[in-house]
Symmetry: none
Amino acid sequence: MSIKNRPNNQKEMSFIEKARRAQIVECAIETIAEVGYTQASLGEIAKRANISKGVISYHFENKEELLGQITTEYYIAWQSYIAPRIEAQKSPKEMLRVYIESNLAFVAENRKHVFAVIELVSKTITANGKLQFAAEHDEAVFVPIENILTQGMQEGVFREFTKSSARVMALTIRNAIDGFTMELMRKPHVDVQEYTRELVTIFDISTRKQGVALEGR
Amino acid sequence: MSIKNRPNNQKEMSFIEKARRAQIVECAIETIAEVGYTQASLGEIAKRANISKGVISYHFENKEELLGQITTEYYIAWQSYIAPRIEAQKSPKEMLRVYIESNLAFVAENRKHVFAVIELVSKTITANGKLQFAAEHDEAVFVPIENILTQGMQEGVFREFTKSSARVMALTIRNAIDGFTMELMRKPHVDVQEYTRELVTIFDISTRKQGVALEGR
Amino acid sequence: MSIKNRPNNQKEMSFIEKARRAQIVECAIETIAEVGYTQASLGEIAKRANISKGVISYHFENKEELLGQITTEYYIAWQSYIAPRIEAQKSPKEMLRVYIESNLAFVAENRKHVFAVIELVSKTITANGKLQFAAEHDEAVFVPIENILTQGMQEGVFREFTKSSARVMALTIRNAIDGFTMELMRKPHVDVQEYTRELVTIFDISTRKQGVALEGR
Amino acid sequence: MSIKNRPNNQKEMSFIEKARRAQIVECAIETIAEVGYTQASLGEIAKRANISKGVISYHFENKEELLGQITTEYYIAWQSYIAPRIEAQKSPKEMLRVYIESNLAFVAENRKHVFAVIELVSKTITANGKLQFAAEHDEAVFVPIENILTQGMQEGVFREFTKSSARVMALTIRNAIDGFTMELMRKPHVDVQEYTRELVTIFDISTRKQGVALEGR
DNA sequence: TATGAATGAGTATTCATTCAT
DNA sequence: TATGAATGAATACTCATTCAT
């Protein structure tokens, strides 16, 4: 029976099968990261993996499933990396710092994967001809920041945010992080530590309650 | 003789020729904005322009030239819009505010064009198989902000920035602006005025010299 | 503008366009007749037409449209051939004779086309995985015979038919005609005239009102 | 050693081996009957049989052998069913009646198998690119009817048939039977008994010696 | 200038077949 | 015996580009 038709493919998937899929996904990531989404044909991916095109079709229902796997794995890895680090913090201020720090660290440690996902997401936007953002994932990404902002505001350490100004702040933080990825692509040797420090500073300052902030100095 | 083979096509280009190219470029922008880069084939563009595919090939060396034109025109329009508004300001603080305000206004007024360029840039990144950002343009974009930051620092109204921390700040501002475009795509009815106000606040606070800032309040 | 997207392609189709389509359809018919439906790939058809595969895609939306054209043209040609010949007859007996005669003549004169359609219809049966006969066409084919039978019965020259026995007779006549096509494929030099005479005899006898029939002898 | 390479595989075939092949053939029949020849890939057949694709390749030289088995088994089953029933009759008239009756009964009782064979035959016609009917089988099919007709003619109960008019009659009877199968596919609930009665009537009338026939009434 | 027509390389996908385990 | 894995040829279709008119 073909893998594709298995009812419960998650559980029935053999070790070898998982490994093969993982290898192909890995190769797809590298291919996209190196030649871009548009050039990343199944043929190109297969060539780089030193396998025949058919192998990919054997292990994945279609191209969409393969690419979907990249995104899914990314979000899982990202969440597993970020969440515990934030939860280990006590104050919102620290949480925000760690959010930024761990995101940049994650990006720096998974450059290719992150870049591949950025490519994928940017193409998915208009996949079927109509603007259709990967809304679930996308919006899920903002939740942790918005939570941190809300909490910090309630505890009185952050300045006041309305619902929509909180969203702008959340978006701006996310954009800063995603933008860092692009900068990393342009300049692979950028000083990650310093970039991190600067971002932390920027958003520490701009979220801080003004009076309190001064006292802290 | 085809236009393509003319030695000096820039200068010899007739009025009609220019108009035709402009029309095609306009159509290409709309097509990309509506159906996305991947679906924006020459055939699709031609269909929307009610012309034959051959016409595009006649007026443009190849697809790359057509798409390049979109980007080029965009930067020119952007610069013509932004530059005078900034230059009309006296203080760096005002310049930064106006930079953000005029950028968001420009984006809001030229949604399709801006979105098309974003689509293009994201695809151009790996056009030839190697990462190749539209470096000239891209870097040029940061110059005005970096100039503002430097000036503000020298005048003592902004906090201290090293060369690299100034770049991080410049990037973060740009990313916030580009991110606004994406938000505008996701939620076309977002309150532009409010978003603008929030961004101005965020970057006003985070660039401000701490002591001075308080006095200003 | 591509032909495919024209709203009213029937009318706007140029002479050259029509000719090209006709040529391709002709070639497709020959290909199917010679190598069978399964082997009749677009590539094979193109090869026999001495054109590139792309030409077919240019003139036809997809393979389905091309093959559909074969069937459609066939039914039109068939009807144009059969109908006037039947209508020229006065008695149902003559109409039945002419129906058989003209069908066999039509088949003999359009062997390839008829065989191609038989191939196509037999494949269409299970096109989407479920039994789905080309019902409209198929059922339409029985109508003229059923009409003749009914008329002959009402005039008292044919024996009595219930609704379902009339259908069986109609089907049997059609099957005899389609079976002749197969025989023609197996034995291209079969004596058409004789075959026709025999079929006419068989169905003349088997529809005839028994008493009346004898008088006629 | 693979079965395929065994010199005398017919005789050496074990019981288990036979059973396995039978099971696969059975499954192939159902698959073809349900999804049609074109969709009946080895993968599909294997899936329905709950075995791996490789098993089929292990037990059958290639797809052709598997499909050939379907046809062969069909003819054997058909012959075993029809022959004794005809032989049990005394008069040609009865033999003809029983031939039609038993054929329709056989079809009705083995719908899937019969339909699968029809699908196969229609595709096999042009299997290698050239028209190649399953001639042996096919021609063998006409023999019993031709024998009946000859006998009936010699006994003076059937009208006169030349060699070729006998063939037309034989073909027409076969076509009527095969056509019934198609009707059964289109309308599974068709009244088999009634259809049978009608066909018997039609061919009783059309073979009958005219004078004799009347007397019989 | 503009067009319709044609091209051919490239895309994802399917599938019969092979083979090591 | 049976299997999962792999292969590579074949298929329909897309599209940037060329070219004669």
